[in-house]
Symmetry: C2
Subunit: 170 residues, 2 copies
């Protein structure tokens, strides 16, 4: 599963795109591509998390979402566009879980009509305005992807109170 | 269900806190309280969404998370602190769904030990670093709260392609 985030603006979306990328990683996606302004700081933050917390996850900037959608079609990825104008995502989950290759697209308000036309599914996580990071997280969590973080240097030991971590050198 | 977001910083968290608030609203919470720097722009954005998209949802700033936690205890709210160091939230969902009054707490990295001690539950939406907005959205979605947005002026008519909305005057 890959995620495409359209229309990043460094100033406005500073930490939001980073949060989308980290949520994508935490919930089992393997690749995060973003268009709009290139943001090396966002990329460095995500790369640092991968280095420390493990797993295989990549971030890259792309100059064109059209190119990314075309490439997704060539690779037979099913394109799921998350939008508050879409159909309730719950109704399509069973179908989507059967697909082996997915590209989940999230964007800002100014998504062009072409994205709606090119997507295999336009789905809403509620039909209310809220958060790309929130919608993406809910959708990916509902897919129930396997989460593996091999090669970690730091790992949380879940606990009822306080913070416990394990560290190791690699 | 209420949400408490600890430690907002206007510059750094500009749109993140707004996204947390909007995700809270979209997924059925009724109140959003935040501490840290007061941010009138965030409050205005959320109030504008409520006015246009309906429902009863309030945002307010508080000068002290300690005060809010104490007040939650007085009101017999169950305090659920979402943290990557906590126990997997899935395991506690059934218990938490039985509670009638919940306060869900999210924060940044610098949450004090006292929050962990005061919370009835410290729960992780994965044990990986990601997004408050994402974690909050996944948790609230999993609670399956009723979402009602009466008094709307704008409403989405969910559709497979494109954007359809209904408008009405109130």
């Amino acid at each position: 599963v890959g995620v495409l985030r359209i229309g990043h603006r460094i100033e406005r979306d500073k930490r939001l795109t980073t949060h989308c990328a980290l949520a994508a990683r935490a919930l089992g996606a393997k690749e995060f591509v973003y268009t709009g302004e290139r943001d090396k700081r966002c990329e460095a933050t995500v790369a640092g998390v991968v280095e420390n917390w493990g797993g295989s996850f990549s971030v890259r900037h792309s100059t064109s979402w059209k190119k990314e959608l075309r490439s997704a079609k060539r690779k037979k990825q099913t394109i799921v566009h998350l939008t508050m104008y879409g159909l309730p995502f719950e109704g399509e989950l069973a179908n989507i879980r059967k697909k082996r290759r997915l590209l989940v697209v999230v964007g800002g308000k100014k998504i062009r009509g072409e994205v709606y036309a090119e997507a295999d599914y336009n789905l809403g996580v509620t039909n209310q305005p809220h958060s790309e990071a929130g919608a993406l997280a809910v959708f990916l969590h509902s897919l129930g992807l396997r989460q593996r973080f091999s090669g970690w240097r730091t790992k949380v030991l879940p606990s009822a109170r306080g913070k416990r971590v394990r560290q190791r050198k690699i």
